[in-house]
């Protein structure tokens, strides 16, 4: 037995030698996961640098640093980089690393496609970012790319469209892989209703991706042909309809925002029970709530379009449907709080980020409900109130969940414990500064400051200055995160297999660092190892 394990261990840890073989040609889910995560981190800093230039310009009224045209390029590419370059690849990276380990599979179902779907991404972003160096500059019509404005872009239109096509292909392949893996590769005994919630939420997200990425691809292709081939899909002068674009875009766009948040729900549902030392409250309710949010996300898109002049019936429908989303979202929040209730909590870094997520994401949900009220949205729409809303759900929602996940699984990935003290510094600096950054934007929006403007009236000066200060503290605090990850990869106290006292699930049954290949023999799953092994 002991001989067998050491032998097996050696074999499992056999990593291909050389950069090309190890990284470029890799089909290993863990290495591909690492690549995705590193790529996401780089894009987080690229998008973050753009955000800091934006906040620098907005530090005080007047134009000090950038031309308005360049400002618009920054807001557009900032959003595209954060959504398609940082948040989505980070979750795909987490899925790659963790889903096979969580369901007891040896690897992803389609390893070669997995390699391809990652290696498309650097090229997609090279294409997109190269537009900054062309004459005419980068796309500047906002990440929503509304025609006719987007059609006034020069050469960058083609580059933007092809970059989005590539990102879409990559996402769809990633999603197919996840669905195939979850449906076919679960170890015997890993029933659907025993799967960890991270796996559940990703399974549902993958279906959303397959449903809506082609819709986005279609919309941007029509922009391409309108721009270069004289079609008039969205050109009123040629009989087209600029509002049609918005319907198509948001039919993609609203499910997209749930693509960004559902995996976060999964991460948080993994972390809270571990550090409360108590099973997740309402596991099945969580699964159904996720599924109903996913379904509802398809029928609320026009809440982004209340001001385009829809008929009354349409406005009422989209208002009611949007308000409905609050119910399953509320269920999730209540369940997390009930999981903490009567637990025995400790507050290591992952738990701190998870708790901050619950509070701050809920604040984003509150402003979401306010925005759902159509007549009030006539005031809120396209102001800083909306900017505050989606940064609460995306930064303190999705990004915080990603950071929580990294702190949760980093010892499993590297085999080292990290410096908790440094991690807490990172947490407190971030959580305070992010609120200094985004909370005042609610006030700015209510007081009448439109979004996407490079300069503003003087009554908005105070809150903009506060917000910019928050932005710089938040931005630079993230360097701590990089430093901490670097240190932990290099060394540190040895991590046990279980890492956290309350940890449950298959990933905690393998050694830390997880061997290069895990679960090759497909041993039956033991219910006692699972977080949701028992009856519900």
């Amino acid at each position: 037995m002991s001989h067998a394990t050491t032998h097996e261990h050696d074999h499992h840890d056999e990593k291909p030698k050389g950069f090309v073989k190890r990284w470029l040609l890799t089909t290993n889910h863990k290495d591909i996961g690492t690549l995705y995560l590193i790529f996401a981190l780089i894009m987080f800093f690229v998008g973050g640098a753009m955000a800091l230039i934006i906040r620098l310009e907005l530090f005080q009224p007047g134009l000090q640093f950038v031309q308005p045209e360049f400002f618009n390029q920054l807001t557009t590419v900032h959003a595209l980089a954060m959504i398609f370059g940082a948040v989505m690849p980070a979750f795909v990276g987490l899925a790659n690393w963790m889903i096979p380990m969580m369901i007891g599979a040896p690897d992803m179902a389609l390893p070669r496609m997995n390699n391809w779907s990652f290696w498309i991404m650097p090229f997609a972003f090279a294409i997109l970012l190269s537009t900054f160096f062309m004459d005419g500059g980068a796309p500047a019509a906002g990440w929503t790319m509304y025609p006719p404005l987007v059609l006034q872009g020069g050469k960058n239109v083609a580059f933007m469209v092809f970059a989005i096509h590539l990102m879409g292909i990559s996402s769809i392949m990633g999603a197919i892989n996840i669905i195939a893996t979850v449906l076919n590769m679960r170890a015997p005994g890993m029933d659907f209703l025993k799967m960890p919630l991270f796996v559940w939420t990703w399974l549902i997200t993958a279906f959303l991706l397959i449903a809506v990425m082609p819709v986005l691809a279609g919309a941007v292709t029509m922009i391409l042909t309108d721009h270069y081939f004289g079609t008039s899909f969205f050109n009123a002068a040629g009989g087209g309809d600029p509002v049609l674009y918005q319907h198509i875009f948001w039919f993609f766009g609203h499910p997209e925002v749930y693509i960004l948040i559902l995996p976060s729900f999964g991460v948080i549902s993994e972390i809270i029970p571990v550090f409360a030392r108590k099973p997740l409250f309402g596991y099945t309710a969580m699964v159904y709530a996720t599924a109903s949010i996913a379904f509802l996300s398809f029928i609320v898109w026009a809440h982004h379009m209340f001001t385009v002049g829809m008929p009354l019936g349409g406005e009422l429908f989209f208002m009611y449907a949007t308000m409905l989303i609050a119910i399953p979202t509320g269920v999730k929040i209540f369940n997390w709080v009930s999981t903490m209730w009567q637990g025995a909590m400790t507050f290591e870094a992952p738990m701190l980020w998870a708790i901050a997520f619950v509070v701050l994401f809920t604040i984003g949900g509150f402003s979401g409900i306010m925005l759902a009220i159509a007549p009030a949205d006539f005031q809120y729409h396209d102001t800083y109130f909306v900017v505050a809303h989606f940064h609460y759900v995306l930064v303190t929602g999705a990004i915080f969940a990603i950071i929580a996940a990294v702190y949760y699984w980093l010892p499993k990935w590297t085999g080292h414990m990290y410096n908790q003290k440094l991690a807490k510094w990172h947490f407190w600096l971030s959580v305070i500064s992010v609120n200094v950054l985004f909370f005042p934007q609610h006030f700015l929006g209510l007081a009448g400051m439109p979004r996407r403007i490079p300069d503003y009236a003087t009554q908005f000066a105070e809150f903009n200055m506060i917000s910019s200060i928050g932005a710089f503290v938040f931005g630079f605090s993230q360097l701590l995160f990089v430093y901490l990850i670097w240190k932990t990869v290099k060394g540190g106290e040895k991590a046990t297999s279980k890492v956290w006292e309350g940890a449950k699930g298959l990933e905690w049954t393998v050694p830390s660092p997880a061997p290069h290949h895990t679960f090759q023999d497909n041993a039956p799953v033991n219910d006692a190892d699972l977080a949701h092994g028992g009856a519900h």
Binding site: G62, P68, E69, N72, D135, G142, Y146, P148, L149, Q152, G154, A236, G240, V243, A276, R277, K278, P279, L280, G282, A285, T307, G309, E315, M319, M323, A326, I327, F334, S338, M340, Q342, G343, A344, M345, T346, I355, V358, V359, F366, I369, M370, I373, P375, A376, F378, D382, F443, A447, G448, P450, R452, I453, D455, Y456, A457, T458, Q459, F463, G534
Partner: protein, 380 residues
Amino acid sequence: MIKNGIKSAWQTFVVLGAVLFSTAQAELALNMPKGVTEFSRDVYHLHMIVLWVCIVIGVLVFGAMIYSIIKHRKSKGHKPAQFTHSTKAEVIWTTIPIIILIVMAFPATRVLIKMEDPQDMDMTIKVTGYQWKWRYDYLDEGFGFLSTLDRKSNLARQPGSGIDPETIPNYLLEVDHPLVVPVNTKIRFLLTADDVIHSWWVPALGWKRDAIPGFINQAWTEILEPGTYRGQCAELCGKDHGFMPVVVKAVSKDDYKKWVAMMKGAEVEQAKLDEKTWSKEELMAKGQEIFESQCASCHQKNGQGMPPAFPSLVESQTVKGPLKDMIHTVKFGRPGTAMSAFGNILSDSDLAAVITYVRNQFGQQNDVVQPQDVAAINQS
């Protein structure tokens, strides 16, 4: 030691809070304005209701959480319970939110219906968005005009202008010609755009509505108090999206009648201008004024433009070429680019002046263009 630290931290916090609060009282706008129409007040109340509902739910949920964080921690020796669900609790916290949402949906629906049902309107104003100005047409009176960012703000907002925005009254919220409307009058707005999508927004009226090329949107208002109300374009429309404010001046019905009479007089004057023959000096002076307000935002004051999006006029073959082609370009625009059809927004004498100015100033031509020359050029 620690106690002192906490105490001084607390004191700083209180002082900071007091400072923030008093500045908030003095000048900082924190909340949505109540506005000056019935609709804006309804919206304000809806906003406050939803806000308070959210605050109450927030206090309950976060309160429970904080209590749990304080009491149910391992370091306090708390033993974890093992329950995994409670049907009673789950039914309660799905039903109560549903009831709250239904209760909120009623007033929201009522306000929305009122907004979307314009009846018995007294007058109609057509609003057209252009990159980057507004045009207002008083359809019942038969006149209209352009409304652009005022000169002072426009100078101050140039990068590196060295002018402190604080010294400019209503920085970025002032226009050359505000929209003048009577109070206590139901006004229908028809909104459209000529180039890209814009959005017409005055917070004090309580709504914004998109101005979309090829569409005519409708909205209405009835302003209850005289005053000047300011807003901005709310849909990204290109480079100068941040610089196309909306200013509405609501005046008494009598003052409005006087203003209309004055505007009609100006119309007659304008017609005379289009008929007369101008001297070159007059054309150049007027042309420069128009160039700087209408054209320089893209082509720049020195005519150098910002290629490739906004071509240089100094280099331009059109400016040096046949007069007919140049008039056609300015009058009817270049479809698919930011160059709009200025014939829709400028009078023939204005066009004649600005074309004369550009050809002489940037194209080294020695031309004089008269309003009649402009009138003679047709679209095809």
